[in-house]
Symmetry: D3
């Protein structure tokens, strides 16, 4: 369903209002990009989309008095080939998604936004977001084009919140489960929480959603985890999820204010 309640939702406005916002100086368009994929036994398949959309909307609402900003509905279709063996996953090809993001930008920017931000919530979309930022940046020379995977903003504050070791905040782990407990507790099956910690054999590769490293690797999720979830769910809580969510919204708010300046 498209969001019909938020004051920053493109879909809830008639076109003249959209044009009015886009025309203002320093206007920003946020395109949330999620996924529909298995997240273990305890989280719904829409988790990535729900989370990135919530962060995008809350961040945009925080600044909308000063910054002319809109959000498209979230793209719920991501690139998830590595999750297909579990079922419950709907995935599109890299090229199809790259064309999709390019065409969203191309038609949306018929309205005169000064900046477009692809805000991503799915690890498997990261190469896509990097490529789309580069591509759309070349295709739309008059627009500032940015790409960001929201949970990477965690490097600025999450060390203070996390309790798990490196490897604990992966697919359906401490981070995503806590945030869902905060935002949608009715969609979390706490009795079926189960996840396998993420370990990599390469010290040059990222250790979990928050870790970084120069080496790109290909992960075989189905070999790695029985349940499909990866990380540590031993210390999840709604309170921790709230702290995480507010942290991300703070960071996004700060970024949007910088963009607008």
């Amino acid at each position: 369903m498209v969001d019909t309640t938020s004051s920053v939702a493109w879909a809830a406005k008639p076109y003249p209002e959209i044009a009015e916002i886009a025309d203002r100086e320093g206007s920003v368009l946020i395109v949330p990009v999620g996924a529909l994929e298995q997240h273990g036994h305890h989280l719904p398949t829409g988790t990535d989309t729900v989370l990135v959309d919530a962060v995008a909307t809350a961040g945009a609402e925080r600044v909308s008095d000063e910054v002319p900003v809109l959000t498209t509905p979230p793209l719920w279709l991501g690139h998830s080939p590595h999750h297909l063996p579990f079922g419950g996953t709907v995935s599109a090809e890299f090229d199809t998604l790259s064309d999709t993001l390019s065409e969203i930008a191309d038609s949306a920017l018929g309205n005169a936004f000064d900046t477009v931000l692809f805000l991503n919530g799915h690890g498997g979309n990261r190469p896509l977001i990097a490529a789309a930022t580069q591509r759309v940046g070349a295709e739309q020379p008059d627009t500032e084009v940015l790409g960001l995977t929201y949970f990477e903003l965690g490097e600025y504050f999450l060390d203070d919140v996390r309790e798990s070791d490196l490897g604990g905040m992966a697919h359906g782990g401490e981070l995503e489960t806590s945030m869902m407990l905060h935002l949608h507790p009715e969609l979390v099956d706490e009795e079926r929480m189960q996840a396998t910690e993420w370990e990599t054999e390469y010290e040059q590769a990222p250790g979990d959603l928050l870790g970084s490293g120069p080496l790109n690797v290909t992960l075989d999720v189905a070999e790695w985890s029985d349940s499909g979830a990866m990380g540590d769910v031993s210390a999840v809580s709604a309170a921790k999820g709230e702290a995480m969510f507010e942290g991300f919204v703070d960071e996004l708010e700060a970024l949007l204010r910088t963009v607008h300046e």
Copy 2:
């Protein structure tokens, strides 16, 4: 935002529940396909997506006790090149959308649905839906593949409800405005309702969303209508919208029961 409340929403379920539903005999997957495009001064740009998603969800909920059925989140990105000049419109290319529907089917059908139904809510998507049904039908020989534009079901009951002449139930006219007044009155700007009746020079071409005819034509909306809306908004009402909505849901319910048999 993905729907997190409906009992038939794929996105709100963890993957094992999805597999369980798909495995039951006569299971059906509905993929709602909408658009994000200008709908005149009085309707929000998400109108097509909101309406098709509401019909799909209500129809599926009606039968879900007997028919194992799920709905993906609606594809809010449609093919709307003819609306781009107005602004407020986000559109993708035919080929990108055809690939998208094919890939949605391909990965979704990794789960063993017996039938997939592309349920469309945007006039400009009709060739796409016809082509995708044919394409996915060939690509997925073990699955029954159906395509339907929901408002065409109106031929079975709408003549009793409509008050406008042919040409009145077009883009943002009597049909869509009344349905939005029923479902989301807060999103309709009744003070700015304005639309141009649709007329075609060819008797062989459809006269409005409900009319039919063998001739395919290309419509230049921007030449046709100042406001971007087409049809008759003189006799819209929430009550009429309710009658229309319930009529569509009845028809979809009947179709889903036939499919399941």
Copy 3:
């Protein structure tokens, strides 16, 4: 072979004559689109192409004193994946044919035709024609672009001619067999006439070539018919074929005169 005898055949004229016709006001280009596919044991594989080309040529010749009109040679290659299992079928992909029609229009319209009409004679090409009309219409904004499957014009007169019930005028049935008996009796093997009537389980789907309905379905011909032909061949005749052919030509003539005005 390209037609070298008709006065409206592009292929039989040197280029300066083509330019002269295209430059006249209200000029029309017809692109007949057929198929090369199995039509049962009694009809040749070129049936769809032969018929659509005959209708296009006769319709154009009828008006050529008043309307500046030309026909390209028929595209004999259509989209027929559902007939491949029988053999005798040559089929191209949807995307290849869509590109082909777009490129035909693009280069043909270097000559200044005011209207281009894709005139189709194969049921499996209908989504293609709808999509191509939309695509070429967007690509050629200065040209009126029309698409039509000729036998759908039968809704205006065929009820008076047909003797079969709904389901009788399908692939190689009463309609096509009678028309071939009229135009090319030497190519019809009357001793091997055999066809299976077309039935659909959905009342919302078309009942045969003439029936209509909003539901797109995928048909598995090979499951349906042993011979490959579908419909009713019990009451075919050259006389009936002549009445049908003349009816289609009348309808096309009327449409071309409307287009020209």
Copy 4:
């Protein structure tokens, strides 16, 4: 129009007869490939297609008592970007035509032909035919795939027939005009015959349709010739055209017998 008279025409046969021919040992399928393009003021735009189809049909008929052979209708759409400026030309992209030939082969070879021969009649299609032979050869490992531009067979006999110097048998020159005078004199406008001799600045490039040389060059026809025709039309005649046509048919006959062995 598809050929409905020849005994070797695929389009004129019902599918069981096609399968019967394809199944015989040493069966051959010929796919004639032409063009629809300007050929000066005196030749029709369908010249290349008419000629290659006539050669293919006559060659196949000569051997059909011994060699199981069929011809598809000619592909009248070729690659002619260099002729577009004159008008009267319909051209497709290289990639579209390459896909078309690949898909024709792929579906036609569902019938068990042992050999497929792409027989080309347009100079601008030569790279396409070379590429398609290579591509289809790799895609159809069980089939012998051959490509041939018929007039290049002239190296075996044409020196005895031609009267023009090198440069005289180019686009619409001595060769094509004479052959058309033989086959379709009613389509040749002898009063408007006019052509510019072809000259190349490179001795390593071919001097006309018959000349050879290793250097690929790009020719700007519109700069070269006012009328669009290139070559020498001073000594054309139907008798010479007959000698040429019979020579090509002899050569094709010989090749088909070799293929069959």
Copy 5:
């Protein structure tokens, strides 16, 4: 020119030797990926290719006694749209390069390498390498697929070597100039060294080749730098370049040994 001297060069070996190496356990194939693009007034356009090839070859030679390893010739064609305005740049599209890397892997892995490593030397190729690693990883499930931009290995040692501040080791700056002075001093024009320091307005974006940050941005080089070079060239030297080069080779050596284990 392909490397004909190194003991690890695929191109210098006949095919049976390649097969022999690939068949050994833990075999590794390195595909160096560079660019041909402007590097300011003082560095040759082949800089990225020269450097990545030198690192790849030296790293592979270091371990070739224990690790069965080969290097393809470097791909000198990269994705450099942002450098085209300067001239001297040859660039390919993202999709073409993605297909190229996929096809290199697909055909190379007909030989049974256990691991393939795309080793990149150009900043603008980073999204490509991430995407290709993901794509090839999915296409080649039996092979470990890795991607790495060599200079990102600098995070493990370069802080000890660099003298410039953040922003100094960008395109043609301290890093690349010093390495070229070490490896190919004859190709560095020390009299024309000139570069603009790289600054970003976002603290969330990388500060230079070595800096990291979650935000993807699009850089307009031509707006940024007059010479085309970015960074700090005030303290470049061959000695520093040697230290850098040896550092990278050490890191690559360590990684290759880990891969082999």
Copy 6:
């Protein structure tokens, strides 16, 4: 490795020097195109690339005092599907290579070269070179676009040098082995020289690299030759290779001077 020593190497120059050369009247850019594929037991897989690059560089150096000329690094990735079964072969698809050559030309010609010459050294690339010359010629109307497979220049002098019969100068035979013995004797394994003579069943098809004929055929190398090499290696020598190499360079020199005029 890119060539860092030749005075005509694009890769070894900073961008301002490239622009200066391109701007001069009659400037020429040579793009050598090779392959990385099995060449029997005695020649390295890089043979085609090594040879074409050597010819291109030597030819360009000969004229560089008068003709402003540069060479890109050789494209070492060619179209070699017919060699894949042997191993040791890296091949790309026709379409990928066609896009690659088009994009190389498109970005290289941002610099104002008057002529671009694709100089090919691999038989399997010939259709590609013909197609690319045609394509780039249409895409770059202001540039003269040429394509040439260097060994076809042998028709002007090789009959005096060759000792083998027709069929002896094929893949890894008398020609390539002798040239490698001249240029890179250290890469030829003279003890493992072995090749099968090339024979074709069609007199209309080329008899070896030097023979010509109008018929395009598809060759199954793996069926033909055990070693992968084809031709005659009984009379190879470095002296003969030198005569051949100098002959090709003479011919290329002459062509470049003609181009420049």
